[in-house]
Symmetry: D2
Subunit: 374 residues, 4 copies
């Protein structure tokens, strides 16, 4: 019987070993890819899509492969990207065969798996009158041309949405940077949008010009190194992005929204855009819990206000509301605030300025919040 007893022991121990191995291994293998979801609320009638429409890979002067740009986008919580390698600048050409359509071809399968919308694009890179991203193109190689006018014309022929990239001089009110060449492209309907943010730089002059001319604004990273480097280097909590307010989550949905100018820039925890769009974004980000109202005889009432978004907001009461406190609404946190509401009042309305929502280079969003008695 000794044998049998040993046999049982062995069986049991093998089972235990197997069980532990199974559990451990299973858990480890289970993950395909995971991302922290970033909550940016939809606005009425539109889905808010998180986009980065200016990216480079090893096919121009970047250091990652196109498929990995897609995986980074997934990990960073984005909905859509465009890989826009330079046509004219390809420093890796000693080792990498230059094929301007390759980045899209090498990224699309990974995009399908990760449900990332990959928009075919390229960067037309001229010293004068500037760099331009052409998005929604069909064939990047046909766009290659020494003459920028011909290149942009071809892009438009393919149905492209053309963007003026990083207008680096647009940091003051001076509009010398808006050259006749640029204006001609714009007047001809060949130039459709402008970056108000690129890499780590904000162009307030471009923001104001876009508002004046009803130009579509964009905010892109123009990443050349990996996304991890970018976030670590610039110490950013979230990747800068163009918010696109689309009718549907698709390439066509993004195109229609860009054509209609329904975008906002979101970078460094601030939102830049047209008042009617960003006001809704803010209002859909917060919840004022009426149920929570309580009067403790202090002359103040207490209200719970929640920020359901991943954008942190700072609200400063306007001058006429001197007794009110500023409000700091951290991402996905709730705060108890006190409001100067008298005992007999049914509600109180306080006007705030949202410090980190800009509706022009010099104006912050003003908003009325109504606090109601329980």
């Amino acid at each position: 019987m000794k044998l049998n007893l040993n046999f049982l022991s062995v069986v049991l121990l093998l089972f235990i070993a197997f069980f532990i191995t199974y559990i451990t291994k299973s858990a480890a293998q289970s993950v395909q890819n995971t991302r922290v979801d970033m909550e940016i609320p939809d606005i009425d009638g539109f889905i808010t899509l998180k986009c980065d429409l200016h990216l480079h890979t090893s096919f121009s002067d970047g250091v990652v492969w196109p498929s990995y740009r897609v995986e980074e986008a997934w990990m960073d919580g984005l909905d859509a990207i465009s890989i826009t390698d330079h046509i004219e600048y390809t420093p890796h050409s000693e080792y990498v065969k230059i094929d301007h359509n390759a980045p899209y071809e090498l990224g699309i399968k990974t995009a399908l798996i990760h449900n990332i919308i990959l928009i075919k694009g390229t960067e037309i890179t001229k010293r004068h009158p500037g760099h331009f991203n052409a998005l929604f193109i069909k064939d990047a190689s046909k766009i290659a041309n020494d003459d920028y006018k011909i290149a942009i014309e071809e892009a438009n022929r393919q149905g492209a949405f053309v963007i003026l990239n990083h207008p680096r001089e647009a940091v003051t009110d001076n509009r010398d940077w808006w050259t006749e060449e640029l204006n001609a492209l714009f007047e001809n309907g060949q130039l459709h949008g402008i970056e108000i943010f690129n890499w780590n730089d904000y162009y307030p002059g471009a923001f104001d010009l876009a508002l004046d001319k009803n130009f579509t604004i964009l905010s892109n990273t123009d990443m050349h190194k990996g996304s991890e480097y970018y976030k670590s280097h610039l110490r950013l909590k979230h990747r800068p992005m163009t918010l696109v307010f689309a009718k549907e989550r698709s390439v066509q949905g993004i195109k229609e929204a860009l054509d209609d100018g329904r975008t906002a820039g979101y970078f460094k925890n601030s939102v830049y855009g047209k008042e009617e769009l960003v006001k809704e974004l803010f209002l859909n980000s917060i919840r004022i819990k009426k149920a929570h109202y309580s009067d403790t005889g202090s002359g103040n009432a207490f209200v719970e206000i929640s920020n359901i978004s991943d954008i942190q907001y700072t609200l400063i009461p306007l001058n006429q509301n001197k007794k009110s406190d500023p409000i700091q609404l951290e991402a996905r946190e709730s705060s108890i605030i006190s409001v100067p509401m008298k005992k007999a009042e049914e509600s109180i309305t306080i006007e705030y300025e949202v410090e980190n929502i800009l509706i022009s280079s010099s104006e912050k969003l003003k908003i009325n919040l109504v606090f109601r008695r329980d």
Copy 2:
């Protein structure tokens, strides 16, 4: 004029200094109290309330003041608490005047401000047959009595919901700990619930007995020190709690749910409860995004699955689903998983065991997930 210019300079500089001071100070003063919101989904027809119904203060052997127990509850994301100081054990009595109703009186104003539901309670603390929390009482001092039977009778007279606390021996199948005295209280309808978790201890035997006898289960911290100490000491991400599935967010709502047995224990990232309740909690925690389905010819299809809750789930496919991978669903994260779906199939159903949802001490929740083609 030099004077005037200087005067203006001074005025301007003072203004700037004031402005900076104002902004800084305002921002600092703006916050009343902030908490990270903890997302535990509601279930159909009921609001899920996060409760800790066993707490001590300086009025028995705890180290914090009643009002601060309420503030801690707010910071930890709870909806309701009960302060249940020992009637029979008051080691601070050299310094603190013993008044069994004081903890509630000293906590209720802070509770109103923070929208925390404060349930009046006390702990009847007898060596035999055990410790009992009496919740929803009217006057704790009347409950003080050397005879546990009289104390519990008085609590019931006041309409109390009475809980057996920390049945420490209930860690095996052996039910010797369920003494005749306890059974008599239960049969008399004077004992209504039982802790299956207390401080850092889980009592599987209590969980099974509660399921057998249709006893209401509770999971409480029994904190004596501060909440920060508790979380740091036990290295917990979330405070253990009783989940109460209530018809309304009120004292009455909680009472009705406890009476009806609609609770679950949530501690150490695991959920314990009746199958019909916790199954819904799980299903309301996840989103399977059909739109994301994509076939890449690998014989597998890819699906995006999101966990919108703050509970982390681990899913192991059951034996008949050998080709499927386990799924790790981190709190508020999304994962891309591959499922073994053939090209012609419209959908596939996979049965999983949810590793961290227990429907008895030895059974995990089984769940069918249906993945549909886009």
Copy 3:
């Protein structure tokens, strides 16, 4: 034999169950109390002690018990605290017996266990000429007196170090707040230190006065609620503190250092103190790794600079160093920086201003960093 086999199975399974339980339980019970160590470097000849010398408990208007103030101090990484309950303001006296020596008595045992230096103290709380902390006292009850002069005299008789608390008007250059009464105490040698920071408020005027008069500076929290509330409410990464540069880690060591004025304020990631002390603190916080020097022909050289402390520093090169970059030195991180060093140079010296070290209310620490070729 069936029985025997079953018996063995049961024994083995029980063993396994026991083993798992043992491991789990052991691990859980193993922690007595844990804290993240906060690295603030020592300076030459002195140990840097992290102190909070102004705290309240339930014995005046606070909400925690004295022993828990000590546990909080441990968790927050401090070396020493003083509980300084108000003599004159005891709003909990309906429930808490007022004994001005009780806080120390109720805290000292926990202090011994946690190696926290507990300094006996009290707060003399007068509308005029102000609030004073008396530290290192022998009997707080003897200090109770309606006449502030008598109270402070008695404190001094007991060998106290007396501090002027929160001079709230000391926020400009105007010194009206420094009344004749205060000056008389100072001139008599009865007033020895002054808070330049309290709760969330900084008093630049107090800092400058302390530097002028060789007064000892302090930075304390004046906490009334729990430490968790304090940090959450003010969104602080570290608890404000008085850095005491002591010859030994003891009550006497702290007393001698306070008497000699060897302190600095550390709050909101900035350090305030005498140049000779804080300069050393900075220099002992960083390491410039010579070995890492490398020239890549860019006209710049690359140097690795590490911050071994938990204080984050920002360095701005002074005007004469126009080609140098500012340096951000995160806590316990290393950075690669480029310095404008020519090929033939053996070393380069760059003068920086440390943005977050103040040596008076209007002067930042200036420092020369020498970068040497490998």
Copy 4:
């Protein structure tokens, strides 16, 4: 004068605007690259270097450029890496020109800037008898050969240190995977090390064989995607690595240490290695603060124990120390533990097993800790 006043205003405002811009911009541009320092203590006589000696780039089947592998290594806190692209497997060859020496050439400049030691390597990739990394080679293209024997011979001729990669079957005691071919290479002195960890897999059989045969052990990631993906996908706090105990921080220092077998594997918060090496690593990781000893009459004494490293340790007291508690030593944290020391004792020695340091596949490190009275 109106003009002048306006002029002054403008000057002042411009100055302010400039100042804010300057500060903001400066701070942003200041960072070259930053990393959190990972603290793994040196051992007596040797520097502990953190190495990942198995990595891929776009030049074989990876998705990042060689220079970015170096930047990732810096960000992850490593000292040294080797890029070991497959000679025989180059799926990107449609776009990337295959040059087996290119990865080193394209990485070395970035390595010099970041003080990362870049070791020239390649992977000889044969179905039988396996995959081999050749490190410290001179010319990878000369190693390309269909016959593995010739390839390995050439690598050795170049002075290579040759490693058997991921022996996937080495997960049990069965040594069938140690084929005659492998043994022949070993006996000929042509095979010098073996991976006991690769990607997410641990090979206990390889660990034991290495201990038996005095083989050098390695633990590498074999990353193909970016480091961010790797850490996110496997939910790792630290990147797995080979710890090399070197006489100097240089290519030569690493070579000498590998030749002498002075390495350990560090992955998933566990350390694997020869007892004499890992024992020192542990002892240099902790500090027992004698000064902190205190007896409170409980029959127990209290000791503060600090973990200065970034490795988390769990200590379980051995059977003869029944009254002692397990100890959890979190990275860079301190704990207060109680030890069963009688009043008359001057010191107590307790033997622990360090749960996460393995000195063979089945043995944990045993260690005596001595606690001394103050």
